[in-house]
Symmetry: C2
Subunit: 438 residues, 2 copies
């Protein structure tokens, strides 16, 4: 059985702030970044993963990854039980737990290491991660999940019953995924930094490319948002869904007032209207907007399964937006998929950034196969940036993600991309530093 | 006006796990630690503060402090507005914010730097921090607080009205604090690692020392807890309050069942019954225990003002346990004191660890002077450990904290203590490492 002999990390950053790609109401100048981690073994395979950040602070996540080296070197990863044990040991370490608990930098770094172990497991099994998870038995899936703090929502016994029921039809869903892929929506047209012309052009292109939902950033200026949403609605027509995303910009009353003003253009969902921690705030916003038919979505900054549980149990969200690298890794994300199945909340993952599309597609597909059992009202976000840096870039056809076929979790970057973008000494940043000193 | 010319940090750890001081149901072997930070200036004074951790991972907080150096070097700190601006700039930095938002390692490190700036401000004013805050006008207090995500609970206008009303009697409360101090309770008797004899002896000593509340750790074994609580109740008699602390050990149903079994011994509050993130879980536990007259307390792991708001607004807690170094610094703690005043929730701060007593006493006293206006049902936790490492150790007389008189925030450690305990090369750890290699 392969033993972990080293953990390596890299501070990889892309200078996306130069072009205002990724600009929104709260994030004016992101440099999309990856705190990259690999688990080296004495066997044939290694495991790789990353934690996505937007620039400054990526070094702090790297420091947290480095602090985990002594926890993992010497462990053997021969099967699912080993990965589950690794997840429990890291998340349960009382001294590390103090730094959250189960949230923020330390939790994200633990998630990175856990995900690298899942990547290793999938490579050993010679399967893409979505298929590895999708083919787990209900008992195995339950064994992955830490039910601490969840039993008021669902118990292991309840989970087993639910997953056993949902296991029917798995083979058909796997075949369907391989044939038609997983429905996507695109955020490419809607960044705040883009001109009206670019917004209209990209919105029309999105429809031509087969997407039936696009998303626009909002929240800086109501007049601008009314104009932009009207332009987009006119560009795509009445039958394409348009969602909007405020990136946590508002307080509760602001959110209701602002979205009421946008209601005439029939937005499908309002994403991140307020603080991702504010369960009761989201419930109030949802209550305030329900009569307009506007759904409430959040999740990309959801710190852990405890907040996810409350958002769903309190009726605070219509849509949950799973993020691949915010929580404590695949095990905790499976807990969230289970909760979503329990509460019948569609999971529409957050993606974009760098590597999030490559990674989270595996979770969305595993959700379809083993948890949700349907793509009804499910979408996977798509942003057309930075895919060329991965060994298996996402493939989009007719508005859908094609099912990945290579083994692993999708997180592996090209060695050349890592080397060129290492901060601050990679060639991309060395040039930037040189320019700044002129 | 003094300008910040450097930020320095130190990884300071105390080998407390050797004696099982601080052992509880979730934290078996803590090494109480401080990620220590100073802001050096070109003026007469410097500012010092710390982030408390329990060992491993203290280095990650130090890395986060180091990442903040470039954000603060060059800033001038001449008055309250400068500290408020520093707080807003660090917490609002979009790239750092991504690492939370407003939670975990990055938020705690930002809190450390903000608190060092408050320490500097108090030294410049030649006042202890509690008095500096206590004497701020209602307008100045409102200026310290970031109302983002709070306006559904309280607006700046509402805060100004409340604080203006509470300002009456400030001078008498300041005089009273200087004369009688602030009521304390003690956790010294109740660590899980202690023998029954030690528990009984320390409980009796606590009463003799003038405390009218003690606290016991619970949650490992119900039989043990029943026996220990009965022993403690017999030792202190019926009129001394006994609170219990589960350190997040339970799910909702467990908490209600376990505490129902302990109800015959009349516990005053159950502290941290479940995940600190579970607002609705605490509300369910409080509903389940109310008829036993057992209060629900939490807060030491409360990540930010948004969770604090929900705990109070949802009726999830009877008592809020403010921690000095978990949130984003004094500014955010003032927001929490304001919320507690708004919802009439007594603030009974968490202390112990290393430096928490020295620091949080300033917040409790500022709460009395400017926010709560009363000590009714207010207590400050006291644990008799590690005070000798601070330039102004806490003083306890007749079960009360004496008001600090030195200028600053109380966080400054002795240079010799820092040097001896720096991890891993200070003399205390060099010896330990030598022992381990024998």
């Amino acid at each position: 059985m392969p033993t972990i002999i080293d953990l390596t990390s890299a501070d990889v950053r892309f200078p996306t702030s130069r072009d205002l790609d990724g600009s929104d109401a709260m994030n004016a100048d992101p440099d999309y970044s990856a705190a990259y981690v690999t688990l080296e073994t004495d066997g044939e395979h290694h495991g790789a993963s990353l934690v996505f950040t937007i620039g400054r602070g990526n070094d702090v996540v790297v420091a947290a990854l480095e602090a985990l080296r002594t926890h993992v070197v010497g462990l053997t990863i021969g099967g699912l039980d080993d990965v589950n044990e690794l997840s429990r040991a890291l998340i349960g370490d009382s001294q590390l737990r103090w730094l959250g608990p189960e949230k923020g930098v330390m939790h994200m770094a633990i998630g990175g290491v856990v995900d690298a172990a899942w990547d290793l497991l999938a490579r050993q099994a010679n399967k893409p991660l979505w298929l590895l998870i999708g083919e787990l038995t209900p008992e195995e899936l339950v064994s992955c999940i830490d039910f601490r703090y969840l039993t008021d929502a669902i118990t292991p016994e309840g989970a087993l019953a639910l997953l056993t029921e949902r296991a029917a039809g798995k083979e058909e869903r796997i075949a369907d995924l391989r044939g038609r892929g997983f429905p996507a929506y695109t955020t490419t047209p809607g960044w705040l930094g883009y001109s009206d012309d670019k917004l209209v052009r990209l919105s029309k292109e999105a429809v031509e490319q087969g997407f039936d939902m696009i998303k626009l950033k909002v929240g800086n200026d109501l007049g601008d948002d009314v104009r932009r949403l009207e332009l987009a609605r006119n560009a795509v027509g009445p039958h394409i869904r348009i969602s909007v995303d405020a990136n946590q910009r508002w307080d509760v009353a602001d959110a209701i007032e602002w979205m009421t003003a946008l209601a005439p253009f029939n937005p499908y969902w309002i994403e991140e209207p307020t603080s991702p921690d504010d369960v009761l705030g989201h419930a109030a916003i949802r209550a305030g907007l329900g009569h307009h038919g506007i759904k409430v979505a959040t999740g990309e900054h959801c710190q852990n399964r405890v907040i996810a549980k409350q958002l769903m149990a309190a009726g605070a969200v219509d849509v949950f937006q799973l993020d691949a690298t915010r929580m404590g890794g695949v095990n905790e994300l499976l807990a969230v998929l289970l909760l979503a199945a329990r509460y019948n909340i569609p999971v529409c993952p957050h993606a974009g950034g760098v590597g999030l599309c490559e990674m989270v597609q595996h979770l969305a597909m595993a959700d379809l196969v083993a948890f949700a059992g349907t793509t009804q009202d499910r979408y996977l976000e798509f942003v057309d940036h930075l895919h060329e840096h991965f060994t298996e870039p996402v493939r989009i056809t007719d508005g859908a993600y094609a099912a990945p076929s290579r083994s692993g979790s999708g997180a592996e970057m090209l060695a050349s991309s890592i080397a060129d973008h290492e901060f601050p000494h990679g060639i991309v940043w060395a040039e930037e530093n040189e320019e700044n000193t002129h």
